[in-house]
Symmetry: C2
């Protein structure tokens, strides 16, 4: 027998019962918002052809993902987000009335260096709207994102909004016209929150952004304020055509967010650019105040060109995704996830071996009444059965002995107060119905 490693691969983890109960609580709330907004849940394939994954970002994506050859020598990769798969799914269909509103909550894999609250397999929730260029769709994505945070109980967060049209237009207007240089600049901006000013200056210099241009870039990316303040400043900034298109779209977005009643949580902030290559319109991120070390708890934007990579021209898209693990951190810090209760409400106890079969019948009747119930599976003594119920923090024991069986009674024991009460069958049924209604 070879020596067996029963540790997990680096960056992997199991989800235990307590964490899973929390995940279910969070997922349930996200699903409610998804449902209210009319998004339909899907799940794209876990494995893709490597080319499909590379389409978005080129072969450099290989540095960040799990990929391998299968036994038929195909290059496959594990999905690294949900957007690629969902976009490929929609691009392959021509029969769906647009707009198409899809959602997914599922796991993905990235071969990142594991760090605080980051694993190599993790979950995201994701909302996407396909088939409309209107900024109202971006507004709806932001409104749904805000409602997800609100539904979870978060209040101290802000949504920072920008536009790649504004940023690209402005950068072009001040002389950063080379596409490669602009992309490098975007990547530097994307890290601005984690970079000290001197380092920022150095990194811009490296890519040839310096002197007056650098001053303008730094002024621009620190432009931040309420939507009305920021729009007033943007208004006078630049006459570039792309910038003006971005400005018109941003005004429409702000107007729609006002109509949705969501503007109070939003700021415009030109330092938000999103690292990924495929964004080309409105972009946004939400941060939990006081949890900035966690990073953005959600982020998204418009990516009208991605659909054409998967064979469907004219498939404008806008969407949002949030990491479940980071969200848990925010929620736990704010004590918003309720402590998970004991999954079992009633433990049915056999006072001695003669009543074991009656106990099995009784536990089934309790379960049929919809109350989670359990029973001794180890032939233990009365005392040990009660100890197990105590260890599992089960609130009630229902004890059956020969006398109870003979007289068709049960003894209900409150495990916290240790008070016991004998009940006839009909009384017990009523008690169960009350428990079922109150507890679950």
């Amino acid at each position: 027998m070879p020596e067996i490693s029963f540790t997990l691969p680096r960056g992997m983890k199991d989800i235990g019962p307590q964490e899973m109960a929390k995940r279910q609580w969070v997922t349930d709330k996200i699903l409610r918002v998804i449902c209210r907004y009319g998004f339909q849940l899907v799940e794209p394939s876990t494995l893709e052809h490597l080319e499909t994954l590379e389409a978005k970002s080129g072969p450099t994506i290989r540095d960040e993902i799990y990929f391998f050859k299968d036994k038929a020598d195909r290059n496959l990769g594990l999905r690294f987000d949900l957007t690629v798969g969902m976009t490929r799914m929609v691009a392959g269909r021509s029969d769906l009335p647009e707009p198409i509103k899809l959602a997914a909550i599922a796991g993905m894999w990235r071969y990142d260096e594991p760090q605080f609250a980051r694993y190599r397999h993790f979950y995201q929730w994701d909302l996407e709207i396909y088939g409309t260029k209107e900024p109202i769709a971006d507004a709806e994505i932001i409104a749904a994102s805000i409602d997800i945070l609100e539904e979870l109980g978060l209040r101290e967060y802000e949504v920072l909004i920008s536009s790649r049209q504004l940023v690209d237009g402005y950068f072009g207007a001040i002389g950063i016209t080379d596409q490669a240089q602009r992309e490098q600049a975007i990547r530097v901006v994307d890290k601005v929150r984690k970079t000290r000013r001197e380092e920022l200056v150095a990194r811009f210099s490296e890519i040839g952004v310096k002197d007056k241009t650098l001053g303008k870039v730094l002024d621009f990316i620190t432009l931040r304020g309420t939507p009305s303040e920021a729009l007033a400043r943007l208004e006078t900034l630049c006459q570039d055509a792309l910038f003006q298109t971005g400005l018109a779209n941003m005004k429409k977005l702000v107007h729609a967010l006002e109509s949705f009643g969501k503007i109070d949580k939003c700021k415009l902030d030109m330092s938000v650019v999103r690292g990924l290559d495929y964004y080309d319109g409105i972009v946004f991120e939400a941060y939990d105040k006081g949890g900035e070390d966690i990073g953005a708890i959600l982020g998204g934007g418009r990516y009208d060109r991605l659909g054409s990579l998967y064979g469907k021209h004219d498939l404008p898209c806008t969407g949002v995704a949030g990491g479940m693990e980071r969200l848990f951190l925010s929620l736990e810090r704010a004590h918003l996830i309720p402590e998970s209760e004991a999954p079992v409400k009633i433990y049915v106890v056999a006072a001695n071996d003669t009543v074991r079969s009656h106990v099995l019948g009784l536990v089934q009747r309790i379960r049929e009444a919809g109350v989670p119930a359990d029973v001794d599976l180890k032939n233990r003594s009365l005392k040990n059965q009660l100890q197990y119920a105590d260890a599992l923090k089960i609130p009630y024991a229902v004890i059956l002995g020969p006398r109870e069986v003979e007289q068709q009674l049960v003894t209900v024991r409150d495990m916290r107060t240790r008070q016991e009460q004998r009940m006839a069958q009909s009384e017990f049924r009523n008690w169960l119905a009350r428990l079922s209604a109150s507890n679950m």
Copy 2:
């Protein structure tokens, strides 16, 4: 730009909105049973060290799974079931009061040849009880399995039960004493349902089981009947010690199933052996009558030795798993999954462009009332908005025009009957509350 393949790798599939709605319906019912029985939901890691996966079945498992080297040259594999990971999880803990009842509903990967209703990534539900050798635990696993099928509305199924102790004991007693030969024989028996008699005889001959021994094997594996009939026949069959242990356990199991009220759905059937190497006690499978081509819709058994492979001696386990995809087939044939309704109940329509912002406010109020609602995201005409609502089979449109806004009214249109009704705000709120209560 390279030519991009936007097909999926062989054996992979996306889960679209209709299928996902069905999955949610099924998953919700399974979760209810899981909860009533006091199982706690977990999810083991998706990726494991290859050695962890090989521990159960040896290196031959490589033929059936996805495995690869990661960038740090580690041998990793995608999980091929949930039992291995759950057992590794539990074996790594010594702080949990036993028995430990865990459940999982999650995806896994196998590099099988794709065939009817079988993909290379698929989902299973899985229940496991760790820490008790008592047949009552096997009975509870079978009872929960039956309740899952019942909760889903299935009635025409049967649970076939056997025991590896009975099979191994009997095979030993009739002279199949060589361990390798016995394992080969088990593998032949496991395929008996798919094998014609002549072929069966040929395959047994190949492994040296012939003449009188073969006759006894064929008699034994066709032993099948109600638990009382079958127990009576087994009683007289064989004095082998392992067989007698198996018989005593089987009697306890049958007795517990009677007490749980589940015996009517069960038969004993000695041809059930389960292919996997790790079973060593009671084994069972359920078949949907009339759906035998689908194969077993669930199966499981006892595997007391697996825990020790992952470092925990004396960790008896018993469990069950069922494939979600096969279950869907059975449920769809029996028309048990309700047709999915339109996810959106109300489409809020702008009669013209002047009221667009009012429409956004209204759709939010409807959503806040808990009713799934949607709104035009493409700036379409009244007519095109109503056509979209029709295409999506949304039951109601709420139409807002300048007059409605001025008089604080809304027009509610039943999209099926095309009848319209004008309502004041308070009346509309009551109508919404009724819709919310009736529909969802």
